[in-house]
């Protein structure tokens, strides 16, 4: 292929952009989960001292971006660009969080895949030379998502076993150019996914709606780069949850490929079974915070050399579901390498 592309749909960076610093913030339930101790900051009051849930989510995102910038000792205003996203209609949590930052801002929507989408765009910007320092950030809040997509919080509804729990969390990464030797992690490849829709209409089973997209993107990435699951220390899907993860492994098995021993899912990592989250966590903040709290530190200290983050999203709206449309899935994959090598 031409230029920086390889194979059918993978982008290979000539000068791999670096991840210089990152921060993860979460809510009470995330704190009580298995990764609770790895968060940079947790709010036990999930209203975060604000007056509405929307403002609380905005606050989460602002704190995450602020802490990440702080770690590399640059003010937010010194960034060349912010790429941010969340689950709310019109992306308001991100836009309001960026209000007053005086930084060029791109709002993106990829449902739960948003973190990989914003990281991918940010990395392209840097490799292309369009920016030097970019912040990629994504957030979600259980309460804002519930009231927008499902029922009021005080409504007595029952969750099905396939339902997932929207994480109250945010994650932010500061990306810098390839020459930044202080940055401990590199992004070597990005594979932006195609929309995959195999006709799932049940909005309470998003894992099943997204699994075909994860399969498609991962297959494309592996074949484009000529790599195998064993070449990675881990393949982390965004938030397929238990159901979606089983489906993904089953689809790979039908191809005679086993990814089960390499595969983990952010939605399964963030919460444990005792927390009554049914099929696992979801939301933009799920993949974003697991990446920043759990995955990046392990790449930075050299525990892992190379991983794939394949964040998945279900791109429906309450209106499209009511109109009986099936749920389009998406998955964007990012290859992250420890910077200590070489």
């Amino acid at each position: 292929m031409i230029g920086k592309r390889m194979g059918i749909g993978t982008i290979k960076f000539d000068r791999p952009p670096r991840v210089r610093a990152w921060a993860a913030v979460g809510g009470k339930k995330e704190k009580e989960g298995p990764l609770g101790a790895e968060f940079d900051k947790v709010f036990t009051d999930t209203m975060c001292g604000e007056s509405t849930w929307e403002k609380a989510e905005m606050h989460l995102q602002k704190v995450a971006a602020g802490m990440a910038a702080n770690k590399c000792k640059i003010p937010i205003s010194a960034l060349d660009m912010m790429v941010a996203g969340d689950l709310l209609a019109q992306c308001v949590a991100s836009s309001y969080a960026a209000r007053g930052s005086q930084v060029p801002y791109l709002g993106v929507y990829g449902a739960c895949s948003t973190m990989a989408e914003s990281l991918g765009i940010a990395a392209c910007m840097i490799d292309g030379g369009f920016a030097q320092r970019v912040c990629a950030v994504a957030s979600s809040h259980f309460c804002t998502a519930e009231r927008q997509y499902r029922f009021p919080l005080a409504y007595g509804g029952q969750r099905t076993p396939t339902a997932q729990w929207t994480a109250t969390a945010a994650g932010a990464c500061i990306l810098t150019a390839a020459a930044d030797d202080y940055a401990p992690v590199r992004i070597t490849h990005v594979c932006f996914g195609k929309i995959c829709d195999l006709g799932i209409t049940d909005a309470n089973n998003m894992g099943a709606a997204m699994a075909p997209a994860a399969y498609d993107t991962l297959r494309t990435l592996l074949s484009d780069t000529g790599t195998h699951p064993e070449d990675y220390d881990g393949i982390f899907t965004g938030d397929l949850g238990k159901v979606g993860s089983r489906l993904l492994c089953a689809m790979f098995e039908q191809d005679g490929m086993s990814i089960a021993d390499r595969h983990e899912d952010c939605g399964k990592l963030l919460f444990d079974d005792k927390q009554d989250v049914h099929a696992g966590g979801s939301g933009c903040g799920c993949a974003a915070s697991v990446l920043c709290a759990h995955l990046l530190p392990r790449l930075a200290d050299g525990t892992w050399q190379r991983i794939i983050l394949a964040a998945t999203g279900a791109l429906m709206s309450p209106t499209s579901v009511q109109q009986g449309e099936s749920i389009p899935g998406i998955c964007h994959a990012i290859v992250l390498e420890s910077g200590k090598k070489r």
């Binding site: 809510g27 009470k28 339930k29 999930t46 209203m47 849930w53 259980f142 309460c143 519930e146 919080l153 005080a154 509804g157 029952q158 109250t168 049940d202």
Partner: protein, 118 residues
């Protein structure tokens, strides 16, 4: 005895609805709506009244009973004032319940704060 009948009848109606929730893709709003309409129909064909006599609150408290109340209201109103009664009877009989839900709903909003689930 009345309490046992109420328990068994109410329990069975709820347990059957649980099958609808678990086994079909019907949303709660759809289930409730069909129950009220079903209550009106069952009352109209005369099936529900004997159940109410036997089970008391066991038959009137589930939403089927709301449909029954509507139907009974219409029946009385039609015999009193004809066609006009067809329009006023149902709402009149349900007025207490609907007004209470509106007013107590408003009070709830005034007095309490939304909270996170855990």
């Amino acid at each position: 005895m009345q309490y046992i009948y109420a328990f068994i009848t109410g329990g069975i109606i709820c347990a059957l609805s649980q099958i609808l929730i678990d086994k079909t893709k019907l949303t709660p709003a759809r289930i409730l709506t069909s129950y009220v309409v079903l209550g009106v129909i069952l009352a109209a064909i005369g099936v529900y009244k004997p159940l109410v006599d036997w089970a008391g609150a066991g038959a009137t408290v589930p939403l089927l009973g709301f449909g029954y109340t509507l139907a009974e209201g219409v029946k009385t109103a039609v015999s009193d004032s004809g066609l006009l009664g067809a329009l006023t009877g149902g709402a009149k009989a349900a007025a207490g319940g609907i007004s209470a839900a509106v007013f107590f709903g408003l009070l709830t909003a005034l007095l309490f704060k939304p909270a996170d689930k855990s």
